[in-house]
Symmetry: C2
Subunit: 301 residues, 2 copies
């Protein structure tokens, strides 16, 4: 199977798959959300269930030619739309959840609802980004730039499971996952994450994450650049070719995310993992492309 | 006075200054250290006191024509060289300290020595980077990518003092200093740094740091991009034009440093601040240019 190296590869792959995933889109009142969904319909990679905002969707002429590819469920308000979209997922009629013009909190309340929600007991909600960085010429996964402030070791283990799962879905046969830290030394006293990384590596060696290579602590340069690793005298099976980065906490993940989008012309797709299905939670500043790519990545999992 | 926008501007400025700073270079056994120092002599921006390695320096023919610009002090070994270089600083014969081919620990031991060292009592040792990022077209300062794991509020206050001092030395009249966090919300419980930031802003308002603008918590994008700030609905006097970034801890500072050098073609200069004079502590992977720029920045302060 061909390795996926770009968002275009993901889209081509989804086009070649017979059965399309169904995305439940909550409250698509804004043009940016509808434009991203439209790109998905145009590309022929998804089917869509809009929940709420029937008026806006029916008034948007661009959707007229895709009538066979979407349905609309009525909702009285944003909370009602969130609850109904979650029901679509719970009852297996939708495979991806996408936020439109409502607050993240409103959508998460429906996702997390103990009786009617879609978070399996004990699961960890965490954010995964897939980035296409011109300088790297391949896709790079990382977690967590947006949700978990400072993961416990149990949460880090779940994060590794999620990124491995997504990497496998992107046809990375044996993804290289680098556990990021500012240096390569294990120093439990000053940097508890480095002790957590030892536990994660043990679990990886026991096969807990399936086929993958996990190593760390490694700094960002050694993770992504063979010459830097070699120059520093470091030996690691990551070999400067990490497919995924696990950041120690949200500050460094967030800085990486914002640096590559602002200063490296990176394109990104973001997902919330841990619920029954991937949740696309774009932020206000995300471009139409970024929301479209998020839909595409969510539909490969 | 002309604002300095690039490393070349720093060098031109130093060339125009009559009195040159003297750099004490500890154990210049390696070619990369000597090449960086040579660039400083060629540019005519420094005078040099080499401490140790007389044989290597006298054998290096490139230095022959600069004999009037450097002296050599003999040393029996690396520790002796470190101690003698520190003495040059303590007795006001050198204005900058630079590490050659020895371990950082060996040099710092001499710097930190309670009787013969050069760390004023109560001072905080912290790392400041000056970066030239093609996408930004100006110099950007940030701290701390390398030394303090997670600063206390007192240490953060010192960090702001140091970056303001360097910014002023680079002719930034009223530098804009952004206190970085993954969001703009103050959340003392999950993110103690955001409470520290409130204290720092208060001190800035009281004039404690001299002429500067300090704001935060702000994320990296809002700090460096007006459109991102505007789009997010944030109001800040930083206005997307930060001259300096204060990172909440070493992990995010380190990730920023390594991302811009690896993926954004940034040039950087690094300094240890807090001792009696700036200390240039290059890491093994640093280029000759980076070490030369570090010398130049250290010589402006």
């Amino acid at each position: 199977m061909k390795t996926i190296k770009s968002f275009q590869d993901i889209i081509s792959h989804l086009q070649s798959v017979e059965e399309k995933k169904t995305v439940a889109v909550v409250w698509a009142e804004d043009d940016v959300t509808r434009s991203a969904v439209l790109k998905g319909l145009e590309a022929g990679i998804i089917t869509v269930t809009f929940v709420g905002c029937r008026k806006e969707i029916e008034a948007d002429e661009r959707f007229a030619q895709y009538k066979s590819q979407f349905t609309i469920i009525d909702a009285t308000d944003r909370d009602d739309a969130a609850a109904k979209a979650v029901t679509e997922v719970r009852e297996d009629r939708a495979n991806v959840l996408m936020k439109g013009l409502l607050n993240t909190d409103n959508l998460l309340r429906a996702v997390l609802n103990k009786e009617t929600g879609i978070l399996p007991k004990g699961n960890v909600l965490t954010h995964v980004t897939v980035a296409e960085i011109p300088e790297l010429q391949r896709l790079l996964l990382f977690t967590d730039a947006a949700v978990l402030p400072c993961p416990t070791v149990e949460q880090r283990i779940e994060q590794v499971k999620y990124v491995t799962k997504i990497a496998h879905a992107l046809h990375m046969e044996e993804p290289k996952i680098s556990l990021i830290h500012c240096s390569e030394k294990v120093d439990e006293r000053h940097f508890p994450c480095t002790a957590d990384y030892m536990q994660i590596k043990e679990k990886a060696a026991q096969g807990e994450f399936g086929k993958c290579v996990v190593d760390g602590p490694l700094d960002l340069k050694c993770s992504l650049c063979y010459e830097s690793m070699h120059h520093k005298g470091i030996e690691s099976p990551i070999n400067g070719e990490a497919d995924a980065l696990l950041f120690p906490e949200i500050e460094s993940g967030n800085v990486f995310y914002k640096t590559i989008t602002l200063l490296c012309k990176a394109q990104t797709a973001g997902l919330l993992q841990g619920a029954k299905v991937p949740v696309v939670l774009p932020s206000r500043g995300d471009t139409i492309e970024s929301k479209f790519y998020s839909l595409a990545v969510a539909s490969t999992i």
